[in-house]
């Protein structure tokens, strides 16, 4: 087989060689569904021709760049996958070795600190992007038929993203990560049914050796897979139903060609990566001592994305059993996930839909208020430990 050279003829030959043996267009179409193309590729044509046609198509309004949040999520997920794989070369998931192996990644491995910080900040940015994306869907009423699945999948993506962060947070096995995971899990264990199943799956209510190994496996295999599938579903619905509220906005003339979208993607990914690098260098995560199950450091909170759930449960007076507040929390979340279906049952005329929208806003505001309360609860105060 010839080595590809600069000469176009050689490249052409190589492409043709593969084209005869594989449907490259089909493969590319499968990959490009992750937000690269919102339009379909003609898989019967050779790759070059199919791309040329797709690129020349008119640009739909929703593919203009303030709205490419899903694409940012994909970009960040890829960054996480790459940096995660690099970290896995050195990481050892046992309670004895975990802390020392992370320390040697950050301290001794060349540019290990960089990969570690990018991975950590990438996770936070990914969650932030998923939350903003959910807000945008809500604000633009992108949960209404036929986009119910888009909403449900977006909520599920956030939930699974939280799983990813929570399982990854513990792996460093330092005092802050250990205790914030413990505090976070306390919130989750209080949920009825879900909590007990989860406690069983991760090896009990105590965070220990079993939890670490299971979290490692979940973090590197199961949860990313689920996340990738959900991302695929998210873009699959977009391909089918489009994103903008008005279906006829699709393919309006005079807005440029699809190729502009590809440039936008490149610009956005460059910028988000630059933001990541900046955060990793300027605000590096501190590196506290090894986890000690017998000593809680001062000022440990549940992870920021669980603060609201924690604040919500602490709102109730102590005589209310935790499963009651947990059940209320679970119910609120289910209601929120089922928003499109709830709204569909409300009559359109009687200002009912407006009420549902306000209810949604109320849930968001409550979420923010509970998070602030949860943050305030664990403020280190003078004197008290």
């Amino acid at each position: 087989m010839g080595v590809p050279t600069d000469r176009p003829a050689a490249r052409e030959r190589l492409l043709a060689w593969f084209e005869r043996r594989l449907n490259l267009t089909e493969i590319f179409s499968l990959l490009s569904i992750y937000g690269l193309f919102y339009t379909e590729l003609d898989t019967r044509k050779p790759l070059r021709q199919a791309l040329r046609e797709a690129v020349a198509r008119p640009l739909p309004s929703y593919a203009r760049w303030p709205r490419l949040l899903g694409l940012l999520a994909v970009g960040l997920f890829v960054v996480q996958a790459v940096t995660g794989a690099l970290l896995a070369f050195y990481y050892q998931p046992t309670t004895e070795a975990a802390y020392a192996s992370v320390r040697s990644i950050v301290r001794d491995v060349r540019f290990g600190w960089f990969v570690h910080q990018i991975h950590r900040w990438g996770a936070q940015l990914l969650l932030a992007v998923l939350i903003v994306r959910l807000l945008r869907f809500f604000y633009d009423r992108l949960y209404r038929a036929p986009r119910e699945l888009l909403w449900v999948v977006a909520v599920a993506l956030l939930a699974v993203g939280i799983q990813l962060e929570l399982t990854g947070r513990l792996l460093t096995w330092n005092s802050l990560s250990y205790w914030s995971t413990t505090r976070g899990l306390e919130v989750v264990f209080d949920l009825p049914v879900v909590g007990s199943i989860l406690a069983f799956l991760i090896g009990g209510h105590e965070v220990g050796e079993l939890t670490l190994v299971r979290f490692y496996f979940l973090h590197v295999a199961i949860v990313p897979l689920v996340f990738a599938v959900l991302l695929y579903l998210s873009f699959a619905t977009i391909r089918r139903v489009g994103l903008s509220p008005e279906a006829d906005e699709m393919g309006t003339a005079g807005r440029g060609q699809y190729v502009a979208h590809l440039y936008n993607v490149a610009v956005l990914l460059t910028l988000i990566f630059a933001a990541l690098v900046t955060l990793a260098v300027i605000v590096p995560a501190p590196f506290p001592g090894q986890a000690d199950p017998f000593a809680t450091p001062v000022g440990v909170r549940p992870p920021w994305y669980l603060l609201a759930a924690y604040g919500f449960q602490e709102l109730f007076p102590t005589f209310v059993p935790h499963w009651v507040s947990g059940a209320l929390l679970l119910l609120t979340l289910l209601l929120f996930t089922a928003l499109p279906f709830v709204e569909a049952r409300v009559p359109e005329r009687a200002q009912g839909r407006r009420l549902v929208f306000l209810l949604g806003i109320a849930i968001f505001v409550l979420w923010g208020a509970c998070a602030a309360y949860g943050f305030w609860l664990d403020m280190p105060r003078g004197g008290g430990g």
């Binding site: 950050v106 440029g256 060609q257 190729v259 440039y263 610009v267 910028l271 630059a274 501190p286 590196f287």
Partner: protein, 404 residues
């Protein structure tokens, strides 16, 4: 009396090979039938297990239940206090008898040299005899935590008499050494700190030959533990000066019983209790204090930097070891202050300062290298923005002027 004890000893000697009988002597004896409380106390102690019987000290006939018969002959209900040391010594000064227990036999001789022993010989029966410290019946070895003479219990045992103001007043003693000791750093180390080697009364005063150390001996007693401090003190002008002035060396500044935890701050305050304020002696104290706090601050700074470096993380194992070395030199500076020579103190503070300073500047350098990463960011952003600009320009070119 002698005969009966000899008989009892003979009986014991015959009984021993018959049975490995710890319980033999007490078991054979019927004294406990009428004196059950005494028997219970006695059996709690170590003596019955070693075959010592009631009659060995009290005489009488242990085999009968007839009161008159049992209390016949050499029987003595309560031994006179004056006789007790001699009675105990009849066994405990017997080398052959004590050899298997590996026990010393000089206690009686030592006791006779002690203040207690001398007063007793003078006819004063209020002083401590063996039973006052060891108990009469329930005598336990000093290794037993329940013993009155276990290390942690010694202060309380001595304090029963020496903390009794009325009893001590009779000897013209006004201070309360027990209360003073309980306030001391030694008491808190022994009783709260769990340091089994911290001194109790007998560590300084002696055990059976107990006597207060006189002026001129105090530094030797303290020097048994505070060895380097004494060495430095002996080089100082205080050593001869205090002797001439009749001041009890260490105790003159640190008290005799209420010995407080010391700190470097004493260098700034203690001198004025003897020397004129503002005098050159007081100034010397301040100068030594300044040397100490200067080095202490340097170590503090280095240790903060080590903590910061560890949070980065930078490898700090080596720095920790060197910080410990600096602290060791600083610790040595305080005993060295007893020479009253600023040069001696500086000898140690200078070393500890220089080590701490080295650590500080090395870590500073490494942290500075980390700050250089931020300059890398500028270069990175330059290329990132360049990429963005190129991409936007390419898009414009590609779109051929159509507004986007």
């Amino acid at each position: 009396m002698k005969r009966s004890r000899a008989l009892a000893a003979l009986g014991l000697a015959m009984a021993l090979p018959l049975a490995g009988a710890a319980a033999h002597a007490a078991g054979e004896s019927r004294c406990g039938v009428c004196h059950p409380d005494v028997r219970v106390a006695f059996e709690r102690g170590v003596h019955p297990r070693e075959g010592v019987a009631c009659t060995d000290c009290h005489g009488g006939n242990p085999r009968t239940l007839e009161v008159a018969e049992a209390h016949r002959g050499s029987f003595t209900a309560r031994r006179a206090r004056k006789e007790i040391p001699k009675l105990c010594a009849s066994c405990h000064a017997d080398v052959a008898r004590m050899r298997p227990y590996n026990l010393a036999t000089d206690q009686y001789a030592l006791y006779q040299t002690s203040r207690h022993g001398q007063l007793l010989a003078g006819g004063d029966a209020r002083v401590a005899v063996c039973t006052d410290c060891h108990g009469a019946h329930d005598i336990l070895p000093p290794g037993d935590p329940g013993s009155r003479v276990a290390r942690r219990n010694v202060p309380g045992t001595c304090g029963r008499c020496h903390g009794d103001a009325r009893l001590m007043g009779a000897y013209g003693k006004k201070d309360d050494p027990f209360a003073d000791y309980m306030k001391s750093v030694h008491a808190s180390a022994l009783l709260e700190g769990g340091n089994p080697r911290a001194p109790e009364c007998s560590s300084c005063h002696g055990v059976h030959g107990v006597a207060p150390p006189g002026v001129g001996d105090v530094d030797k007693v303290c020097g048994n533990c505070h060895e380097p401090t004494r060495r430095y003190f002996m080089d100082s002008p205080h050593h001869d000066g205090m002797k001439r002035a009749g001041l009890p060396e260490c105790a003159a500044c640190h008290q005799n019983h209420a010995i407080a935890r010391t700190s470097a701050a004493l260098l700034g305050s203690l001198c004025e209790s003897c020397h004129a304020p503002g005098g050159k002696e007081v100034e010397l104290g301040r100068a030594m204090l300044a040397l100490y706090t200067g080095a202490e601050g340097e170590i503090e700074r280095a240790s903060d930097l080590v903590a910061r470096a560890e949070a980065v993380p930078i490898d700090v194992e080596d720095y920790r070891a060197r910080l410990e070395e600096a602290r060791t030199y600083l610790t040595e500076a305080l005993p060295a202050a007893h020479t009253l020579s600023a040069g001696q103190v500086e000898h140690f503070t200078r070393r500890s300062r220089s080590i701490a300073g080295e650590i500080g500047s090395e870590i500073d350098e490494k942290l500075h290298d980390l700050r250089l990463r931020r300059f890398g960011l500028i270069v990175f952003w330059f290329y990132a923005l360049l990429t963005v600009a190129v991409l936007i320009a390419a898009r414009r070119a590609r779109q051929g002027g159509t507004p986007s």
